[in-house]
Subunit: 280 residues, 2 copies
């Protein structure tokens, strides 16, 4: 029951009126906040009770907590239960689910591309998934009916659903999400605090994601280490190209590199506008 977990139940309350929601947190303070904000029909203080008899169980913790949780809930899951998560990497969750979840239950990975640099159930919103992409991940062992149900579920919450393998997912999101995060952190760390007083809107936007919770992002980054490694090399290489153009004073070359970024980004924004994704 954090920003994402709370937003899922709030979105269900808004869009799927017949569905009963149960939220769980191991923290009493979070459960108290979740009850005050009424983010779910019921806020359970017992993990096993919270998943018992549920048709759909959604993990919304830091990624490296999934393995333990899969093991803990295994015995309480109903036959036919669908288990998913909202984690930002998918290879490891699939591996852990295959290892710990019992036969007769069905794991499918979910990654709704929504959230913010905020954390905590007090930032949960019932419209967080409206217009967002949601990637579902499947392997050759994924149950087709469970996948179809989960597609309907996220679509009902306002998502545009895409399906891919966990491997492809992790590669793409290393590049469009985890590397930008690492880069934003590097940018802030490279800048002195007394210089940051002069930062304008450009720096504020460029660095926004670096305000995301460090424990959750450490999990994401380590769970996608191989792709992160390659991605950091790529961006370092692009920086080296720009540095070379600066140091040799090759204006044409520098302008070409900047223009290439500009045009590529414009193409991306156009694609998003055509898809009617909200543009900030």
């Amino acid at each position: 029951m954090g920003l994402l977990g709370g937003s899922v139940t709030l979105a269900i309350l808004r869009s799927l009126s017949g569905v009963k929601t149960i939220g769980y947190s191991h923290r009493p303070s979070t459960r108290k906040k979740a009850r005050l904000l009424a983010v779910a029909h019921e806020i359970a203080s017992d993990l096993y009770q919270s998943v018992k008899g549920s048709d759909l169980v959604i993990l919304a913790t830091p990624i490296y907590t999934f393995e333990k949780t899969f093991g803990e809930i295994a015995d309480s899951l109903a036959n036919g239960a669908i288990v998913t998560d909202v984690g930002s990497t998918k290879v490891l969750p699939h591996r852990w689910a295959a290892k710990h979840l019992p036969k007769g239950t069905h794991y499918v990975g979910s990654h709704p591309i929504a959230g913010s640099e905020q954390r905590g159930v007090e930032f949960a919103r019932d419209d967080l998934f409206e217009g967002a992409d949601c990637i579902l991940t499947k392997t050759p062992n994924t149950n087709a009916s469970a996948l179809a149900k989960l597609k309907k579920f996220w679509s009902a919450l306002g998502c545009s659903v895409k399906v891919m393998t966990p491997g492809r997912h992790d590669k793409i999101f290393a590049n469009v999400s985890h590397i930008p995060h690492v880069t934003a952190a590097a940018l802030v760390n490279a800048t002195k605090s007394d210089e940051l007083k002069f930062a304008g809107k450009g720096f504020i936007d460029t660095s926004r994601v670096a305000s995301g919770p460090a424990n959750i992002w450490a999990d994401i980054i380590l769970a996608n280490a191989k792709n992160l490694n390659a991605g950091i090399d790529k961006i370092t290489n692009e920086l080296a190209k720009l540095k070379k153009a600066v140091n040799t004073g090759k204006r044409n070359h520098l302008e070409k590199l900047l223009n290439s970024a500009r045009q590529k980004r414009t193409k991306m924004i156009r694609y998003k506008i055509n898809k009617k994704e909200v543009i900030p």
Copy 2:
């Protein structure tokens, strides 16, 4: 008469009602747009006529055009005229002004920390400078009365004015503005177009400045080459630290690096909120 030039005259029209404004552009199409949008009292098609008799002349072109323009307007400037600019680097403009502007005229550098990734007079806004910082740059040769007048001018347009040397300015803004630009460009260039379709709000924000006009940014970056060089090294070094933490799987170290960025950015945002700068 682009985004910045047009915004200066619009802001004058709003806040300094007794002042007559003359805009100039060498492009007939820009002059036509500027006239249609009525961004200044008069839109001149002759550079010399546009500065003749003016108390204050403000250059708002790409930086490397300043030197030529200083030379071109030198003979038309009134005695006592103040010349400034809105360029993002200040060392070179001071050098060129000292070389080309006649005695009896006074150059002071201005850098209003405002703008956007858009370009063109059609994006000019009369409130662009409201609540923005404006850095004025001075050397031991700067005329104190001209500096005082310019302080009053930018304050009247809504800016919070700070004064520093051109050298300090260029170092600070390499780190808080030019390096973020270069990093955003590297980020986009390092990512494939078909992957960018999956970009979320994080990538869109992190890369926004990369949509800025390439010619203007090539000028800024080349005019601040030495600081850019050092800045690219610093961010590359921070990326290498993060990569090492990822590859050695040192979770504590990775989380420490991410947390340091998070805390530093929070401190920056708190400073801006206390200063009542607008936060996006």
